[in-house]
Amino acid sequence: MIIQNIFFLVFLNGLNEMNKTILNVKNLECDFLIEKNFFKENVYLKAINNLSFEVRSGITLGIVGESGCGKSTLCRTILSLNKRKSGTIKWFDKDIDNYNTKELKEFRKKVQIIFQNPYESLNPRMTIGNIISEPLNIFQNNLTKKDKIFKVIETMQKVDLSEILFNRFPHELSGGQCQRVGIARAIINNPKMLICDEPVSSLDLSVQSQILNLLNDLKGNLNLTMIFVSHDLSVVKNISDEVMVLKEGKMIEYGSVNNIFNSPQDIYTKELISSVPSPIPV
């Protein structure tokens, strides 16, 4: 009876988690200095212009836009790798500006990023094992060496990487394998949220679908919430629950995948969708 109750409570808790907003971005603005003038006013480029959105737990938010629309800037700003001009970013109802060092560390552990270029995002002088264990050295340094190695191997298996690659270097791996290493590094500490910045756009089509499937599986297994950024509409449609269309730093349209792709409201969204070439010849 008690056990049943506990299960019920856990279940309820899970339900609560499901619809809870975990990331809340409000009136975000980002500027880049493009021309520094001594006498006149400096010229800024508005990379993100008054952007507000929420990410609920367990969903995948796809962000689409063409190059220069500010999608990469947005990723880096959420992770506070960039400075922002104004606006608030709340993680679990707490403004990340107000974090102390310990809380910031916890935030970094919980929010991870996967980059576009699989080779560039791995240090060429480090072995695969060392690359994946870097987060362990920061957040779980109390583990013994053996435990760390085992944890790395375990994570490598989760992303379908053979353990014999442990002592290899990035230049000996294919692009798809390198991207898996990047994913392994991101998930080794069981993050809550994964930000994917064009994770498949430099990969071959067949590798792309493998990586997308892997991300989808991981999302289910690890209870992840994802922000998936891409210029490729077909990829976004494939993986997301909700879609946001960005143009010149502004939100053009926001809605569920079906709404956006089946009945787009804005002209720009319509143009984007109609521009994707179909493989069936006319």
Partner: protein, 299 residues
Amino acid sequence: MINTDKNEKLIKKALSVKGTSLLSDAFKRLIKNKASLSGLVILSIITLLSIFGPYFLKFDFYETDWNSIYLPPDFESGHYFGTDGNGRDLLVRILYGGRLSLTIGIIATLVSVLIGVTYGTISGFFGGKLDITMMRIVEILYAMPYLIFVIILMVIFGRNIYLLFLAIGAVEWLTMARIVRGQTISIKEKEFIEASRSLGQSSSFIILKHIIPNLAGTIIVYITLMVPSVIILESFLSFLGLGVQEPLTSWGVLISEGSRDMETAWWLLIFPGLFMVLTLASLNFIGDGLRDALDPKDY
């Protein structure tokens, strides 16, 4: 849970396969390059000779043989390279001089690399106002004539061989710092640095683990080009009388003495000069080969 047999086996299997790092790959290519391979061989022969050679010769570098002054190369008496005006054996003096020149070359280079890399990475990584200030300081130091700098040091602290290491190192690090700063700025834009930052990694760790290993190629190439310039600088200072003191000697001192007696005793100039030229040439060949080997685009 981790110490089960199956897991042990897994770990063993994972660690059994070794990869080839970029540096070991580059070394393989370096060995294939004939010019740099012969440079490596010649350099190691000269180094080994300088270290162990004197023990196998019957003369000491300060020992005067009054019966053989200005003796040309002569196999019977055991003075294979002849003797100088004080009747000292030239071969043993060249080998001793080699010890000193090579030591200065290596230590002064290491000093400058140490200062230059630290200074350059900090300046490049943190950027902003710190970078501007640090680089202006380097420029000011550049503008100072180093000879005056060395002379002032010598005058204040007296002639001291360790001071010579320091003085040369203190001059040479400026270029190193500039090169390292430029490289750091380009590396820090890479995504793996950003990945590390997003993990909340500390700046010092990023510099040590991510930036400096990726500078290794540039630094190694630069070292092989810097050692010759340091040896020449030492020779130049010794030539002016600011360097090594008698009866100790270096290649620079030997050459400067030899040039005085050039007309009567040719061997006093030719042999030390030969050793120095061989060393510098092989270092340059190695540097050249390294640059090719470390640049994967070129092969």
